[in-house]
Amino acid sequence: MSTLTLPLPYTKKDFQTDQEIRWCPGCGDYAILSAVQSVFPELGIPKEKFVVISGIGCSSRFPYYMNTFGFHSIHGRAPAVATGLKITRPDLEVWVATGDGDSLSIGGNHTIHMLRRNVGLKVLMFNNRIYGLTKGQYSPTSEIGKKTKSTPYGTADRPFNPIALALGANATFVARSVDVFQQHLKETLRKAAAHKGSAYVEILQNCNIFNDRAWESLTEKDARSEHVVQLEQGKPLVFGRNRDKGIRLNGLNLEVVSVGNGKTERDLLVHDEHNRQPAYSFLLAHMEEQPGFPTPIGVFRSWPDVPRYEENIAAQIRDVRAKRGPGDLAKLLCEGDTWEVRP
């Protein structure tokens, strides 16, 4: 046996496969893959303990490019496959790669139930607001009115806000990052990895073929600081090119205020990802929908101490065994009333 309990000298290369990557050149998925391959070696987990599970879609090709155990399942069902694996094998480090269609449309049911159960899975939801693999239909996160192949006159349905959906499902860790913000993305992945329960990470990702520049207002160098606010634990919500704007809490409303002219950072909302008040993270999640507000990135919510589903299951088995002793098959077969027929 190898001595895998020692520190593991993995590098990014250890997590790369020999498979030809079949994402379009310029796809945001490359950046996400690179970030994950950079972070996994840092986690101090034996490589064979990692499992990456996906559904269907461009994002779901992810496992083929990770040199770990991997399972490319069927459309929308990755959280359910991963749940079955994680609750029977809590020793494994199970990550789910999914997209806005896979996770929020066909797999919406599994997503919310995985989150409410708080299964110890890390979910990377690549949100490009489009169906890429099927060549350009609108997705449940496409903005209303969007013209796509399947909606030549524009969509008529309202989109999901994935962060709000995850929060509403009582998720214990909800975060957002962006494909091209590599440092922020890696930092967010590290935090997700450290979270014991379900960690839901929305990654804003560019599909340069079917929905190019979907996130341009956030990623464009000049606009970035005006349109993005970083959520940092214990820090006020400040943004703007000159860090001259902030978010203030006024009753149950958020407002954008200018910092200066008597208003200091001390007047601003100080982020607390551990806040147990559900309304708090909801306010943050819906902020971007109001005119003049930036889009928050970072950790919206982190409730580290909520028991995990697999822990509860294991505890129940332990308790029953302690009370009734380990199962005895011969006894089980003879349970209830029996009678003997003599020769």
Binding site: P63, G70, V81, I87, L329, A330
Partner: protein, 617 residues
């Protein structure tokens, strides 16, 4: 309470070979409990038996109405029992609706016990009866015993301080007590059961026990029955027996498979009639380390089981037809990734929601072919409730040995029906060897065992075996994604050959009855009972008939084709439009004829016999 309120009278006691008793009433009347209590008692006495619970899909249809009628039939005997009985010797009807729905099955001059208190004008109206059958001579051909069950039960319980509603809930035990007296059975088993069942509520223990004793004493004290019956114990093969229903047997079978394989058992399931009892039972077996996952839907139920199997557990999912339909895509995934998995389909009447509580065998073609593309899956079918135990073990063994999903086709009748089951010794159970791949040297995820064509089971956590699997077509041996035309064709053939190779594990069929002759009956699943009974009766009349009961529906036994040729005619009775017969005709070019009943009810022995006579005369 004493059981002797009057000196015993001289009454005639007649010894019979067999009797069929049916309890029927409102779905709130406790008929299922009454029936299973009677069943347990006759089983413990040593009779062979078969039961047929028959209940509506509605939990409580409006009281006293026709749709709310629930029934439980027990056939018990001093010799072999194969069916719950074509017709009934004694019928207990708690109200006019129950009487109306069940009377046609009562034999001429049969015993009919009715609750007289429930034959008021409003009760008759609810049952859509214009006249009172107790007064209009429509029951003249039966031995009718109108008993004031409600009043007598209340009178017996008046000192216990219960409200009227609680007292009325005990009247089924009054009726049960009467039947125990009628068939000379001890109340001991049921008295113990009541004590255990209601131990948290001593008042209810007292009430139900008192009601049952009162029913027994009522028969003893009154001149009601001039005759009682004795059905001596059956000569079953020596051993220890218990009663078992198909769903209980399946649940125990999977626990046994888990123990024999050393794999933890995982059940992913979503509640659905008539499969839910498998989930209920397994959820109680936590001390065996069983994990039951009540999933958010049928799809999560099977995909979670696939995830568990991927991690090295014995993955099982249980459902019925509508759930099977939802699991279809995931079944294809299990075929593609070649992981062991057992899928139990407890068939019910369809299409769509259909008849949730009634039995049918119409999912056979769905099990065999109901997936996109070429996705062969082995299919097993238990023949009796007790056989469900063995089929659970066999399905698990095949799934693990060949790295395939396996479907077990049970049905509502097997699931809820009970029979005496000879308890096997643990040492008699088949071994289920498991080998996880551990050697990274030359490891290829789709390199096959040359004999079984199984790929290695390489579970996450094994150093050096990191690899990827999925629903996309794979290259032979390496398992890498591959879309090449010839590779795809090769993989399609390999998956089919692997399932076909399982035939090596399928025992040859041996026809019951005549080894060759005028007619071969080929059947599968829960038709075993009526076909066996019909075969015996018809052979006793001198006909040359054989019976092959298929427990393996894919692959079919190697010698089946030869056996089919040994008879002039082939008859395939099925509770569907003719699914197995279609397969047999296609595969063996045999001119088999179907006999089909699609009424949500099992075949009667007499129906099969009639068909045999029709074919041979």
């Amino acid at each position: 309470m004493s059981t002797t309120v009057a000196p015993p009278r001289e009454r005639k006691r007649e010894t019979l070979e067999r009797a069929v008793v049916r309890f029927c009433g409102d779905s709130g009347d406790g008929m299922q409990i009454t029936g299973s209590q009677f069943t347990n008692t006759v089983a413990l006495y040593g009779n062979d038996l078969a039961t047929l619970p028959d209940f509506p899909a509605e939990i409580r249809a409006p009281a006293g109405t026709l749709p709310g009628v629930s029934g439980f039939q027990v056939h018990f005997s001093s010799s072999d029992v194969y069916t719950p009985g074509d017709s009934v010797d004694a019928l207990v009807a708690m109200n006019p609706a129950a009487l109306k729905m069940n009377l046609s099955d009562l034999k001429p001059n049969g015993i009919l016990i009715v609750n007289l208190d429930n034959f008021q004008e409003t009760d008759l109206r609810k049952a859509q009866m214009s006249t009172n059958p107790l007064e209009d001579h429509s029951l003249d051909g039966y031995r009718v015993f109108p008993v004031e069950l409600t009043k007598l039960t209340r009178a017996a319980l008046k000192d216990l301080g219960l409200d009227a509603k609680s007292m009325d809930r005990c009247k089924n035990f009054f009726a049960l007590g009467m039947c125990y007296w009628l068939y000379n059975r001890s109340m001991e088993t049921s008295l113990r059961w009541i004590e255990d069942k209601f131990k948290a509520k001593p008042q209810l223990v007292e009430a139900n026990r008192t009601a049952m004793r009162a029913g027994y004493s009522y028969c003893e004290a009154t001149e009601a029955f001039q005759i009682t019956y004795e059905i001596p114990p059956a000569k079953l093969s020596p051993g220890v027996y218990r009663n078992v229903s198909g769903n209980s047997a399946l649940a125990m079978g999977f626990v046994a498979a888990s123990q024999k394989s050393g794999l933890p058992l995982f059940l992913g399931s979503y509640p659905i009639t008539p499969a839910s009892d498998i989930l209920h039972e397994l959820s109680g077996y936590k001390n065996f380390g069983v994990i039951t996952f009540q999933a958010e839907d049928e799809i999560a139920a099977i995909t979670s089981a696939i995830g568990a199997a991927y991690g090295g557990s014995l993955g099982v999912t249980s459902t019925s037809g509508p759930g099977m339909a939802l699991k279809t895509e995931a079944l294809g995934l299990a075929v593609a990734v070649e992981l062991p998995l057992v899928i139990c389909d407890i068939q019910r009447g369809g299409p769509s929601t259909g008849l949730p509580t009634k039995t049918e065998q119409a999912d056979l073609l769905q099990a065999l072919f109901g997936r996109n593309s070429e996705a062969p899956i082995p299919v097993l079918a238990p023949a009796t409730p007790g056989d469900c135990f063995w089929m659970a073990l066999e399905a698990s063994r095949i799934a693990i040995k060949y790295m395939v999903p396996v479907i077990v086709l049970s049905d509502g009748y097997l699931a809820n029906g009970a029979e005496p089951w000879k308890i096997p010794k643990v040492s008699e159970l088949p071994e289920i060897p498991v080998k996880f791949e551990t050697d990274p040297e030359g490891f290829r995820p789709y390199r096959r065992n040359p004999r079984t064509l199984a790929r290695p089971w390489a579970i996450p956590g094994t150093p050096g075996l990191e690899h990827r699997i999925g629903g996309l077509e794979k290259q032979d041996v390496t398992g890498n994604v591959n879309y090449e035309p010839l590779n795809h064709e090769r993989m399609v053939h390999l998956r089919a050959e692997k399932v076909a190779a399982i035939v090596e594990d399928v025992p040859d069929v041996v026809a019951a009855g005549d080894p060759s002759g005028d007619l071969l009956i080929v059947a599968w699943g829960s038709t075993f009972g009526p076909v066996t009974a019909a075969l015996r009766a018809q052979r006793a009349k001198g006909r040359r008939i054989g019976h092959v009961h298929l427990r393996h529906l894919n692959p079919l036994p190697k010698n089946l084709g030869d056996v089919l040729m040994r008879y002039d005619r082939v008859l395939v009775p099925e509770m569907n439009m003719g699914q197995l017969v279609m397969v047999l005709r296609a595969k063996y070019l045999v001119d088999a004829v179907g006999y089909n009943k699609i009424q949500g009810k099992p075949f009667k022995q007499s129906e099969i016999e009639q068909k045999i006579e029709e074919l041979l005369d």
